[in-house]
Symmetry: D2
Subunit: 296 residues, 4 copies
């Protein structure tokens, strides 16, 4: 029995998550029985220690050779795959499975995996379409790096510097010069991640907007600002003769120091990420559970 629309399913587990091995073995077998070809990411295949009978692909190639990716692990692993999918320009959905703690992104419990997969194969699954940010870093007039992020682009100081200064403009209009520990440009999806710790608001995933949240700003009236999703944000570090003090990081996964004159341009990515929705859990239920709103 084949599923023509989802002939191949990629599988990625969190690095070193040995607790996932039995589930990986079952998942590969289940998919094969269903006439779907499983493709394991290389490190995930190695984690299986020879017990996973399936094709393999690198993290970079995986989005190009499958029609759905199942991520087992935490939100970090899923963020990594979101970037690969965005970079590859592929429009394939992710089914995020958590081990233990419910994640904001890995919402599906291990016990719900097969029901969710059935729904995807049957074409009855529903998807959350999440906006992503496209970031371009320009140095001396040349773009030297570009990224797709699901959560946030973060500007941050080094451990020993006292603060950084960032000149921020939105769609060509100067906003302000932020003197702070840093600045977060978050998507709605990222609003419940680092943004929340820094005092930013929760933004519902269906709001077409981004949040600019300063981290520990020296000007106490600098507050989080929610801007339209159609805006282009440009951030220029003002190093004032202190090179290597300002860094940019993408989804908390990687980054690099900035130089005087660098411009980081951030805007809505043309692609969205599709997340398989869990059977019966809405956004507010997720917030209530993650933020413990019910407990007294």
């Amino acid at each position: 029995m084949t599923s023509p629309s989802i002939p191949r399913v990629g599988i990625v587990a969190k690095r070193g998550l040995t607790a996932a091995v039995e589930h990986l073995v079952q998942l590969v077998a289940w998919l094969t029985t269903r006439g779907v070809s499983p493709v394991c990411e290389v490190d995930t295949h190695a984690l299986g220690a020879g017990r996973l009978s399936c094709a393999t692909a690198s993290r970079e190639d995986l989005p190009r050779v499958v029609d759905l990716i199942v991520v087992l692990g935490g939100d970090g692993t899923l963020l990594g795959m979101a970037d690969r999918i965005g970079q590859a320009g592929c429009d394939i959905p992710i089914l995020g499975v958590n081990f233990g703690n419910l994640g904001f992104l890995t919402e599906i419990r291990i016990s719900e995996v097969y029901d969710s997969l059935e729904a995807v194969l049957a074409g009855t699954a529903t998807f959350d379409h999440r906006l992503m940010l496209a970031a371009e870093a320009e140095r001396k007039g040349r773009v030297f790096d570009s990224r797709i992020v699901l959560n946030d682009v973060v500007f941050t100081k080094t451990a020993l510097s006292r603060m950084i200064e960032l000149s921020v403009s939105v769609s060509g209009r100067f906003v302000t010069s932020v003197r702070a520990d840093g600045l977060i440009i978050a998507t709605a999806t990222g609003s419940t991640a680092y943004n929340l710790a820094a005092g930013g608001p929760i933004v519902h995933p269906l709001v077409d907007a981004f949040v600019l949240t300063p981290i520990a700003p020296h000007t106490l009236t600098n507050r989080p600002v929610v801007i339209p999703g159609s805006c282009v944000v440009e951030v220029q570090p003002q190093l004032n003769g202190a090179p290597e003090d300002s860094f940019v990081t993408y989804d908390g996964q990687s980054g690099y120091p900035l130089q005087e004159g660098d411009v980081i341009r951030v805007q809505r990515a043309s692609a969205t990420l599709r997340l398989v929705k869990p059977p019966a859990r809405g956004y507010f239920e997720l917030l209530r559970e993650k933020l413990k709103w019910n407990e007294r």
Copy 2:
């Protein structure tokens, strides 16, 4: 010289603003010279003490008999007129003039009034379209009050009660039961008013969204939530046997106590409010000036 598109201009001044009288006299004369008929709101006409030669209309009727309203005074006066315009279902713009302190709504300085009016009459003015909220209050299955607000619908406790409890749902999905001093449902326009004092984010007027901000919530993880403009918010007070403890107020102008079982339903109003934009001041310049982001 007549201006066919704006044949009549309404004029409303803040109650008791005697400093406005000279400006009112000049404004009435200027409009008349330009072939436009000025219509003064009744109290504003009385403020002129016989020096204003023009027709008059009540606050309620004014939106129906003019094509533009000039508001002289503070943001409160403008909020009052916004409600009248919304209630009347008229689509006429407001030109808000401040006396002294720049307002978030009354952005135009007295020195800029005639340039702004020229632009409106010439058809070259630009307008900010601001979303408004329509609120309906239902008791025992019957809608007993409805309002149009520009800034916010606020649920609040009385001075002597310790907190109120509010059951909140968004588009039919239960969100949480808020135990707090109160709850603000703010438009983007209202995000820089009471919402900001209560810890909510600034929301750019072009974002199609509302903010739900709890006031001094007992559950410390209850944080401001930005929701899509297409949502319907329903709030039900949980009085727990303490009648007259929960109030609802509209734009900080008026309100009343709620009873057990009351439902307040809040959603995007069908009409937007059009504000005449000042010649050369963008939204971020307004934020910088009002919030003193430039000062060190």
Copy 3:
């Protein structure tokens, strides 16, 4: 076997707490067996419906006729007794017992009551000495009300007013004019109550200080200020022609409207409140448990 130092023990239960009746019966019997005379507060005695064989006293008199008061219920009930003890000028300790949820004040679980009482009778119990605030309200040069509070003196607006303005001075020096929903003057003990909801800091009970925390201040740089315990705080409402807009409340239990010219003077009370410490739970363990710092 008599306990000479604690011959009489007062007992107060939360109003209407029928779940406490069995415990009350046991407690009265246990105390009698131990040669200690139980004295029930009148309403508590009535709650027992004839099953409590012991003397009674009013809430006001109880502190004067016993040597220890056991409070069964929530923090609110304990706050009420703290005021009575302070007003009566008696130096008798409180043993606070919670039903269900651990309280910041009612720290002792029902299962720990008899061990705690044994320790008190044996003279081996340890006590927390908590600073209290003495508040005097002056109108037209005359003190018309005075209170002793354990948690806080709170200035607050009515439901329909937009904000209040309060002129604050500390030990004769003007601090600022607060324009806000209100102002909290909290003890260290009260710092984890309303103060925390309004954004104030946690203050360890051994710090000799009070906290001034504005509630939703319009001036965004108005922040909580911790002042020495030796200070005298004076607050004067600036009613600006809006009578009955500003209220003062004491420990969230009672209060009244203020008039133009009223002065509320708040300082450290001469007496402290002694709380029986639970067997083995320190302050930081209490914070961890109440604020869920351990959960991920």
Copy 4:
């Protein structure tokens, strides 16, 4: 005319502050005329480019050879001298002079310098006594660094790490494990510096307490805690296999990475710092001016 109690006055200017040169020349001449021996810090003397006729001393030696130190510049320069004075174990006061912007520490304006110096020489000046923190860093059971700070000891993450985890105990009792961007241990003096940006409270200099303020904590209920000045705080980084991720910095001036097992022990320093008070500006006036509480 000699001043027997203040025979020698040290002078330190902010590095590279050429705007101070004329004032330095005048100050040296004025002191000499008054029979007081000026001693310039070496770099400050060099800044004078041969125009300062006086003895010199290194930053380290200066506190040992003078009876008062005049600091010209910003709060950073003064913080550096406070550490030297603390390290040298000398009890000599500082007179802090600002250039342009009023500082929280350099409160005296250039126009007020000679009146302030007169008062010091005449023995009529008043002093603020500020608590300082003594920090000891221990590795493998050996103290390898010790500091005296006036503002804060700060634990912070590197630019590319996502958060750090710090195990915190107070006077031998475990408080919590903080997962955050970092943690600030601030004096009352430091409460208006970095602590304020991170959301901590203002603490009046006469309160005998310190503040523990987490920076962007992941656990939203982790709030600033004010603890008694008599406490010993111990912080241990939990590196979880990520070496060089956690740093400690002192007064924002210098610092270093921490290793697994390191313990930083922070407590009240035995010495206090004496600051010459400006003629007629109290603490709350300083707050009002610095935080713009008067502006509307």
